[in-house]
């Protein structure tokens, strides 16, 4: 599947962008040319050789703050996605096997969690349970987990109750073989799609929270925080919010792009894609016009 995703241009772009962002998160604090917390008299400076993206209202280097802040966003969104995966996918798979009571309870819980406005809840939880993005991200992850619950449940249902798995069982296939052969094809792609989407959602949530100044201590730089502080000085540095905003958008876009690429290469859609390409290639090779045979 990885190879097929990389065969798509969109898949390659998505993976490349996400890899760069991940590198920033790991190496950002060391790459930062200046101390992100060091203030100076040179406030609200325009971009220059010394300050690639200028300085903020306290004279701190914006580029360094961006690099330093990437870690919070990346870690936060990964946390949301992983918590959601664990909290959602496991009950989702089990709900098919553990009987009707468990199924009913988890279904209702999933309905409940979906009905809660998660940003509102995240704000409330951070404020009430004390500071720290970590708690908020765990809560947010739990709140977006119904996506994984539904996806995992639907995929498991389609595998567990499908005639071809029964046929494979009757034919004497081992459980391991069935899992390798069928589950990998049917269950993993939708979960991978959901994971990529959730990382994107996590980015938006982390950025929103840090934008509001919730969950982080003030001097600590974050992408959302940079955006918020730039907002107050629009008249001095009108282009200030552009870089953090673009970074957030590009990251979310790459996540969605990856999700779409995975969806495109798996299942029915994948087959249609391959067929389309082959048919076009054949027609081009023959130089044959499109016949009216398929007119609708």
């Amino acid at each position: 599947m990885v190879r097929r995703v990389l065969a798509l241009t969109s898949g390659r772009i998505a993976v490349a962008v996400l890899a760069v962002i991940a590198l920033l998160a790991v190496l950002g604090p060391w790459l930062a040319p200046q101390d992100p917390l060091a203030t100076s008299d040179n406030t609200l400076a325009a971009a220059s050789g010394a300050h690639w993206l200028g300085t903020d209202h306290l004279g701190r280097d914006v580029f360094s703050r961006l690099l330093d802040g990437s870690r919070v966003s990346v870690l936060g969104s990964l946390e949301v996605a992983l918590v959601a995966l664990v909290v959602g996918a496991i009950p989702g798979i089990l709900s098919v096997y553990l009987g009707r009571v468990f199924e009913w309870i988890t279904l209702r819980l999933a309905d409940t969690l979906v009905a809660l406005p998660f940003l509102l809840f995240a704000v409330a939880v951070i404020a009430l349970l004390g500071n720290g993005l970590t708690q908020a991200m765990v809560v947010t992850g739990a709140l977006v987990s119904p996506l994984f619950y539904r996806v995992a449940r639907a995929a498991t249902l389609s595998v567990a109750r499908s005639p071809y798995v029964e046929a494979a069982l009757v034919a004497g296939a081992s459980t391991g073989w069935i899992i390798r052969r069928h589950v990998r094809v049917k269950v993993l792609p939708p979960i991978a799609v959901a994971l990529a989407q959730t990382i994107g959602v996590g980015f938006v949530i982390v950025s929103s929270l840090t934008f509001l100044g919730i969950g982080v201590q003030p001097p600590q730089p974050t992408w959302g925080g940079l955006l918020a502080s730039d907002l107050g000085y629009l008249s001095h540095r009108p282009w200030g919010p552009v870089t953090p905003a673009l970074l957030i958008m590009v990251t979310v876009w790459a996540c969605n792009l990856l999700a779409d690429a995975i969806r495109d290469v798996s299942g029915e859609a994948g087959r249609a894609l391959v067929n389309d390409r082959k048919a076009r290639a054949n027609r081009l090779a023959k130089g044959r016009p499109v016949s009216a045979g398929g007119a609708r």
Binding site: N275, K278, A279, N282, A292, G293, G294, A295, R296
Partner: protein, 296 residues
């Protein structure tokens, strides 16, 4: 068998006398001449030349195993080939008009009023979200220009004409509330609502119980007798075709291996494959259909 004309066709326009008494000079409703169909994906020819003509009130049967190209032939005639399939050679004429010259608007005008079709798995061919009666009434309103009330009245009459019990109730039901046999009757009612001159029945009885299958075949025979409807009956079941048709094509792997009057094909099969089909029927099937008196 007298209920059909007064109920289903009160304002039917007079038409040439139907049935086997037709003279050979009658213009054919449908003329298929050496049609070849290719799959654009694999770039292989699937159907290698099918020819037959259908005059008013006649019935032509196409028999063959699944994958022999009989359904593709029907779809080509109806102008609804699946994506990537195209007619690469030969011609199809509907009431003298070559279908390659038809504009989409002309196609729309032609379907329903001149040629129509019913298929296997009738449930999927009806809109799941609209009451079945409304779907028949829609055809009447669009194709016959009936007012809302008239269309409703006629639709109920049609449902009665296809021998549905309690047509008033069925009118207001959704497809998922009806059984397969009832749905096939509804589908037939919708197909003949605009009084087409030819009806293609593509495996229309395949998934039904034997008794229901016999009833549907009776209904088709009745429609043919009452209104001079020409039939193309496609089936993998020789008995079905033998019961209804004057003329049979036997297809195998896209090739017409045998073509002639039903009586001749059944009693004096020339091709080995036809002999096999007939032999199987003599061995396993009720051989009363092989009786020449019944077949004609």
């Amino acid at each position: 068998m007298t209920t059909l004309s007064p109920n289903a066709a009160p304002e039917r326009s007079p038409r040439t006398a139907p049935g086997p008494t037709d003279t050979p000079e009658d213009p054919p409703v449908l003329a298929v001449h050496d049609v070849r169909i290719s799959d654009g994906v694999t770039d292989r020819e699937i159907v290698h030349g099918v020819s037959f003509t259908l005059t008013p009130g006649k019935a032509v049967g196409i028999v063959g195993e699944s994958g022999s190209g009989k359904t593709l032939t029907c779809r080509a005639v109806l102008g609804i080939l699946p994506p990537h399939f195209e007619v690469t050679a030969g011609s199809v004429e509907i009431t003298g008009t070559d279908i390659t010259t038809l504009t989409p608007a002309q196609w729309t005008a032609l379907r329903g009023t001149t040629i129509s079709a019913v298929f296997q798995d009738p449930a999927s061919y009806l809109n799941p979200s609209v009451k079945v009666g409304a779907q028949i009434a829609e055809v009447l309103r669009v194709k016959k220009g009936l007012k809302r009330r008239e269309a409703r009245h006629r639709a109920v009459a049609l449902l009665r004409a296809v021998h549905l019990r309690d047509p008033e109730l069925v009118y207001g039901q959704y497809p998922y509330e009806l059984s397969g046999g009832m749905l096939q009757r509804v589908l037939i009612a919708a197909a003949v609502a605009a009084e087409p001159r030819a009806l293609i029945a593509d495996e229309a009885t395949t998934a039904l119980d034997v008794t229901v299958q016999a009833e549907i075949l009776d209904l088709l025979a009745e429609l043919r007798e009452e209104s001079g409807l020409a039939l193309v009956v496609v089936s993998h079941d020789l008995a079905v075709v033998a019961q209804l048709c004057d003329e049979v094509l036997v297809m195998r792997q896209g090739e017409v291996v045998e073509h002639g009057p039903t009586h001749a094909v059944l009693h004096d099969p020339r091709h080995a494959y036809t002999r096999l089909l007939v032999a199987e029927h003599e061995q396993y099937g009720p051989d009363k259909f092989l009786d020449p008196e019944e077949a004609s």
